[in-house]
């Protein structure tokens, strides 16, 4: 049983206007200069109440900076809620920032292990999946090379192959993968469809209305960190597009 519940969840970032302060500065600042590097509060998510049950596929849309990716990271447990409550049941697998986080001195094969362990695999279970991961990435002998010599596209291939080799209960996906060549993108889409079908619960962030409509049943429209609309995907997409078209003449 997979389940996600958010109850009036808020997330506030505290950002400094300038760089991080050093410890020396911290001591000095406490004494006589208080406002040179003020802390600004960014309300990234406000009062989000959501209930997603087994079998539901949710598409998240909204303009840039609306809090879509932040919402996914909150669901994944990477960001804690500042206020409110988050309750998640089920094993989460997330596909975001996937090209990040390789040990650049280690070989491709070693990195498959590191990533796999981080996703909760055991040595035995990875050994079983290793041939499939290697084959899907099509990297061949490059997997014996340190990752530092990989191109950006090769890293995406490897990252995607590892991240999608598991059978998740809850799947969180951020955007479609723009990197990789044409052939790999085709393959990646196909693989994602398969994963989405296996997963019991999906939350999918995208700007591509067509894939949202074809993959999801429900839509969640975020606007400035708030839920603007939550309902059947077609309705939400229509409302979103209408509002974008509305604001266009004013902008022009």
């Amino acid at each position: 049983m997979a389940k996600i519940e958010l109850e009036r969840a808020c997330l506030t970032f505290r950002v400094r206007k300038h760089d991080r302060i050093t410890f020396k500065e911290f001591l000095v600042r406490q004494m006589y200069r208080k406002s040179i590097n003020p802390v600004m509060k960014v309300r990234a998510l406000q009062d989000i109440t959501l209930q997603i049950k087994d079998g539901e596929r949710i598409g998240v849309l909204g303009h840039n900076g609306a809090g879509k990716s932040t919402l996914l990271k909150l669901l994944a447990g990477i960001y804690p809620v500042s206020r409110g409550r988050r309750y998640v049941e089920g094993r989460i697998s997330s596909l975001f920032d996937i090209a990040l986080g390789f040990e650049s001195d280690a070989t491709g094969y070693d990195n498959i292990y590191f990533r796999g362990y981080l996703q909760g695999e055991t040595p035995a279970s990875i050994r079983n999946k290793l041939p499939a991961i290697a084959e899907f990435s099509e990297l061949g002998d490059f997997l014996n090379m340190p990752v530092r010599y990989y191109s950006a596209g090769m890293m995406v291939r490897l990252a995607f192959s590892i991240a999608t080799a598991i059978e998740p209960e809850i799947l969180l996906i951020d955007e479609v993968f723009a990197a990789g060549d044409m052939a790999f993108q085709q393959k990646a889409r196909q693989r994602m469809r398969e994963m989405i079908n296996q997963a019991q619960l999906l939350v999918f962030v995208s700007h591509d209305m067509e894939s949202l409509a074809s993959l999801c049943q429900k839509g969640l429209w975020l606007d400035h960190g708030r839920v603007r609309r939550f309902g059947p995907i077609d309705e939400v997409i229509q409302a979103y597009q209408a509002s974008v078209l509305d604001s266009q003449p004013q902008a022009a």
Binding site: P80, D97, L100, G101, F114, Y117, L118
Partner: protein, 261 residues
């Protein structure tokens, strides 16, 4: 609490594989592997021994193992703290991807330095047996495993504190380096307390808790004695203090780390 330990355990394959990788890359870079990284403390010991022998006429048979034990232990504490300072910055991409317990990243760096310390300690043991076979005392040596566990807890705590502080204040590592440099001369690493002639100064130096931590290592190996109750009390107090601080800091700050990376 138990929940937290369980989640550390659940991620064991992850951090253990990273430790293995760290060790492999540390020892693989050279032909002589492990010997190369032990060369630094040994070269330092040899140099200081020769110089001190010339100036102060110290007895090398006693002083060489004494010095190497000190340098190895001191190096363990310093390198654990300094690599701990880097632990969260280094793990940024993992922290941004997966909500793993924050205790594991300093654990990774500390386990790496611990294994290196064990290697250095085995050299010290061999050296002590070779130079001073007359003090060999099994009962005294049997206290070492408990000491190693305590030292490990101490180093992990320092790594956690350094790591967390470094996330919030980027100059932490530098400050620690300076601090350790000063402490190095205040701690009997390369001199002996009995070299201090002024009785008042000698008493003042006993206030440095690290004196007692070093004694836990040196007493059994160099003098063949079980460390004194005083040594144990002060060391346990020190370790308990840092372990509590580190756990409390983790408890309060671990959810905030991701926002400051």
């Amino acid at each position: 609490m138990r929940e937290y330990f369980r989640s550390i355990w659940n991620f064991r394959y992850f951090w253990m594989s990273l430790v293995r990788m760290d060790l492999r890359s540390r020892y693989r870079r050279s032909v002589i592997g492990m010997g190369w990284s032990l060369l630094h403390p040994i070269a330092l010991t040899t140099t200081i021994c020769v110089v001190f022998h010339q100036i102060f006429q110290v007895d090398i048979r006693h002083f060489a193992p004494y010095l190497l034990a000190g340098i190895a232990t001191w190096g363990y504490i310093v390198s654990s703290t300094l690599s701990g300072c880097e632990s969260y910055i280094q793990a940024e991409s993992y922290i941004r991807q997966c909500p793993a317990p924050m205790a594991i990243y300093p654990l990774r760096t500390t386990l790496g330095t611990s294994i290196h310390f064990l290697l250095a300690m085995s050299v010290v043991l061999v050296m002590a047996v070779f130079f001073k076979p007359e003090v060999f005392n099994l009962v005294a040596l049997a206290t070492l495993p408990a000491t190693l566990v305590m030292l490990f807890a101490f180093c992990w705590s320092l790594a956690v504190l350094g790591g967390l502080m470094n996330v919030f204040f980027p100059d932490t590592k530098h400050l620690f380096e300076v601090g350790f440099q000063i402490l190095f001369y205040l701690t009997p690493v390369m001199w002996e307390t009995r070299m201090v002639s002024d009785p008042f100064l000698a008493l003042a130096l006993q206030c440095n808790p690290l004196v007692h931590v070093l004694a836990l290592i040196r007493e059994p190996i160099i003098y063949g004695r079980v460390p004194s109750l005083m040594n144990y009390c002060v060391s346990c107090g020190l370790v308990a203090f840092f372990l509590t601080s580190a756990s409390y800091a983790l408890y309060r700050l671990q959810r905030k780390v991701v926002f400051y990376l």
